[in-house]
């Protein structure tokens, strides 16, 4: 008997155990970013942060399929991708608090979280800045003949950067093992992507570089899993790049100061109905493999995981002033 038929059937061969982990990850991401929002409002976090509340399925459905030896680049809105790739949440939170035990020893902050131990080549404060770096990492994989693939996360707005064009073309002519995963959350800061491009789907752009592009429902984790699984398999077997455009919605504003005057409450409410975690719950319950009570336990344990991460991070030492001028250059 295939447990996954028919409701949770997927091309990656994921089983209930995987869905439990993914479901927990979605809640961890949600709670992590909600806590970041709260701590930021309370003045406990310095600078700026960008939240991916509402985009959990794109991060989990794609990132869960990566191996620890695979690489990843992500954007300024990168907490979710970083959590899925396996970075300890307490080190992430410590980074936001400016602690020495932070992922970047407190020198990077929210927009630059990186973790070489998990193959995370970093979030990026420059829109489109990650594309060429992902291509370079994929080149390493190809030249060293490893089977690593690179997941290049980017936002809809970045597809209008020159680096998008240059990198997708280069990845195509060299047949590099990279997946360009566009999280189309509908807005680049305040600008609707509909006003910034004159094509119905960003995935159409892939065709002009000579590889496949696909638009999927990014709030449906199963669709994300299927599309990503095919793209990873293709990249790993030498078939070159794929572009995935995952349609989703940024529930919160661009950053802290955003009052969201450029969109309607009606639009927000419509997307709320398509909340990725809600949808995942419906699928899990419909498959009749898990009870409502169990889901609540998974959810509450995820909340607890985030709380523990915060407590651990708070206990860590601040980065010392003595470290101000260290690590400008490598030895």
């Amino acid at each position: 008997m295939n447990l996954m038929e028919p409701i949770l059937s997927n091309q990656a061969g994921l089983l209930l155990d995987d869905f439990e982990k993914m479901y927990r990850l979605m809640w961890q991401i949600r709670f992590f970013d909600e806590q970041v929002e709260e701590l930021f409002t309370a003045g406990k976090i310095h600078g700026t942060t960008h939240l991916s509340i509402g985009q959990e399925a794109t991060a989990v459905g794609s990132g869960y399929l990566l191996k620890p030896t695979d690489f990843m680049t992500t954007t300024h809105r990168g907490h979710a991708n970083t959590i899925v790739k396996g970075t300890d949440m307490s080190a992430m939170m410590a980074e936001l608090f400016g602690k020495k035990g932070g992922t970047n020893h407190g020198k990077g902050g929210s927009m630059h979280i990186a973790d070489s131990d998990t193959g995370n080549l970093g979030s990026n404060g420059i829109v489109g800045g990650g594309y060429p770096i992902a291509v370079g990492a994929a080149l390493t994989a190809q030249m060293k003949k490893t089977t690593a693939v690179v997941m290049c996360y980017a936002g809809d707005g970045s597809t209008n950067e020159g680096s998008f064009h240059e990198s997708l073309n280069l990845a195509s002519i060299w047949k590099l093992p990279v997946i360009f995963f566009i999280e189309n959350n509908q807005y680049g800061m305040s600008s609707s992507i509909k006003q910034m491009v004159n094509i119905p789907f960003l995935s159409k752009r892939a065709e002009s570089y000579g590889f496949e592009g696909k638009t999927i429902d990014g709030n449906n984790w199963l669709e994300v899993v299927d599309a990503t699984s095919a793209a990873i398999e293709k990249a790993r077997s030498g078939g070159g790049p794929t572009l995935i455009e995952a349609l989703t919605y940024r529930s919160r504003g661009h950053s802290k100061s955003d009052k969201r005057e450029y969109r309607t409450q009606k639009e927000e409410a419509q997307w709320q109905l398509k909340d990725p975690i809600l949808l995942a719950e419906q699928q899990l319950l419909a498959a009749d493999l898990v009870s409502k009570e169990e889901l609540i336990v998974w959810k509450e344990e995820s909340r607890e995981n985030v709380q523990q991460a915060i407590q651990q991070a708070k206990k860590m030492e601040d980065v010392a002033l003595a470290d101000l001028e260290t690590n400008v250059y490598a030895e």
């Binding site: 990077g108 990492a137 690590n327 400008v328 250059y329």
Partner: protein
């Protein structure tokens, strides 16, 4: 010892590095069969193949960024930006990414890459192919900046650049390419941050970079006949800068002339002048510090205008006389 050109010295260093370290590879526009815009990579692809000597599309941003990404993941890329002016298109990857990653990631990741690029005027390529922009990158913490003036320096410094675990900007002056000097056949490394006193003297310290080293040396010979002795110092690397050698020399001569081709306004000469003014050498100065640099204009096309846009030997001569006035 045999004499070879600056261009051949670069070619030789690349060849030696490719032969000994399989992580080293080259990327750039027209660097394979064509051998690069100025011929620096001629014959290399025949030896190492197109997997390691990679022609790229005309995509400076992707080229520089692919170097960053591959360097972060264990390779040691050397890229060629045909003309240093085109660095403008790759600047995000060089300035915002390569230069900052080591610090921004808490020292956990390094970016060992070399950006080789041809700079300077004198070839009639006009405003968009003739600039000297090394000062831009010297301003960015995290980058190292190299400016070899001779074939000997070019080979040893290129080896140091390739072995360095940081992003290194390697500015080759177009007019230096055909100059020759004695170059050992075996590999050698010239450490960064060690200036070279290319001509010893007593009266005036001349700090010159790139092609201006050659012009200053010619004037040192000429002025020696008139009893004026120039000490010509070539810093060789702007970052790190060997301030000690410069300060020590100025303490001895009491006169400082700085010569570079880059536009004088906000040029690196201002940095050198300030370092000396802030040092104990200040008290040894017999005359105000003198700077010679390019005029504040885009490099013009017409030969005479192009010549007049940057310091020439006669300007060095005039500056030396001025510094020697009683």
């Amino acid at each position: 010892m045999r004499k070879i050109t600056y261009l051949a010295a670069i070619n030789e260093a690349l060849d030696e590095a490719l032969a000994t370290d399989e992580r080293v590879f080259l990327m750039g526009e027209d660097i394979a069969l064509y051998g690069g815009s100025f011929g620096a990579t001629k014959g290399i692809v025949q030896k190492y193949g197109t997997k390691r000597i990679r022609n790229t599309p005309i995509s400076e941003s992707a080229l520089a960024g692919a170097a960053v990404g591959s360097a972060m993941t264990g390779m040691r890329p050397i890229i060629e930006i045909q003309f240093s002016d085109f660095i403008t298109i790759a600047l995000d990857q060089i300035v915002n990414q390569a230069a900052k990653i080591h610090y921004m990631y808490g020292g956990k990741v390094s970016v060992p890459m070399v950006v080789r690029t041809a700079s300077g005027s004198g070839t009639g390529h006009a405003a968009q192919h003739s600039q000297s922009l090394e000062n831009w990158t010297a301003h960015i913490p995290g980058l190292k900046v190299v400016q070899p003036s001779t074939a000997y320096d070019a080979k040893g410094l290129l080896h140091a650049a390739i072995e360095d675990n940081n992003p290194v900007m390697f500015y080759e002056h177009k007019l230096c390419y055909q100059t020759t000097s004695e170059v050992p056949e075996e590999k050698y490394v010239i450490p960064f941050g060690v200036a070279d006193i290319k001509h010893s003297g007593q009266d005036i310290t001349v700090v010159a970079t790139g092609i201006m080293v050659h012009k200053s040396l010619a004037m040192a010979k000429q002025l020696a006949l008139e009893g004026i002795s120039l000490e010509v110092i070539d810093p060789r690397t702007l970052v790190p800068l060997d301030t000690k050698t410069i300060i020590k020399s100025v303490q001895k001569t009491g006169r400082l002339l700085i010569v570079h081709e880059a536009v004088k306004r906000s040029g690196f000469g201002g940095e050198i002048a300030s370092i000396v003014a802030e040092s104990k050498a200040f008290y040894a100065l017999k005359k105000p510090i003198k700077r010679l640099g390019g005029k504040s204009i885009p490099i013009p096309y017409q030969k005479e205008l192009e010549h007049a846009a940057i310091p020439q030997e006669e300007d060095i001569l005039a500056a030396a006389y001025e510094l020697m006035e009683k």
